[in-house]
């Protein structure tokens, strides 16, 4: 059973460009959350997708957008890249239960470098 997968593993872009990162959730999971982790810091919540809609959002500008597909996979798009967008982008999937809290599984991340 594959866990959360992300692609690509590494990416180098220049300022002003746009980037798309991809995530496939763990089998049986329908909720996908995205996080940005700067070097030496904890992950910062970007947004969460469920039933193809953005359900919650952190303090990130509109340059950060996402999408969830019918098969529950998700994309994170970042427009007009800034040097400060350089980070590890983590995807996590979960299947929230009703009476029991499910654990959230993280993928290995995509390392984005903006030059």
């Amino acid at each position: 059973d594959a866990g959360v997968t992300q692609s690509p593993t590494h990416l180098i872009k220049t300022r002003g460009q746009q980037v798309t990162l991809r995530c496939s959730p763990k089998s049986g999971h329908d909720t996908v959350s995205w996080y940005q982790q700067a070097l030496g810091q904890g992950p910062q919540f970007i947004f969460q997708y469920y039933e193809e809609e953005e359900r919650q959002r952190g303090n990130f500008p509109d340059r950060f957008s996402g999408h969830q597909f019918p098969n529950y996979s998700s994309e994170l798009n970042v427009n007009a890249l800034l040097l400060g967008d350089s980070a590890l982008y983590l995807c996590a999937s979960s299947r929230p239960g009703t009476s029991q809290l499910d654990t959230q599984y993280f993928g290995p991340g995509t390392r984005l470098t903006v030059l």
Binding site: V4, T31, F45, Q48, R55, S94, G107, G109
Partner: protein, 115 residues
Amino acid sequence: GESVGLHLPTLSVQEGDNSIINCAYSNSASDYFIWYKQESGKGPQFIIDIRSNMDKRQGQRVTVLLNKTVKHLSLQIAATQPGDSAVYFCAENIGGKTSYDKVIFGPGTSLSVIP
């Protein structure tokens, strides 16, 4: 604003000793807390969680303690092993209908186990 922070950024322990990693949180409305372990080059891995209606929960070699009065969370690792070397994050879930609507991570503590 909302934040989760750690008292100690680094911790070195002798193999076989017990480790204690502390965490302070600021949002008294948080109802669910999670400890994650992150090894180099990997995404965070779930260790143990606790709901706000509990003050202690035990897992395999790990115990989480929650003190809501002083908004303090701790992770105890018994008989620390070299494989426990990693960065440990505490995190809290804020609001929402599910357990993962908005997870706020602390900055992390780096644990080094001395053989």
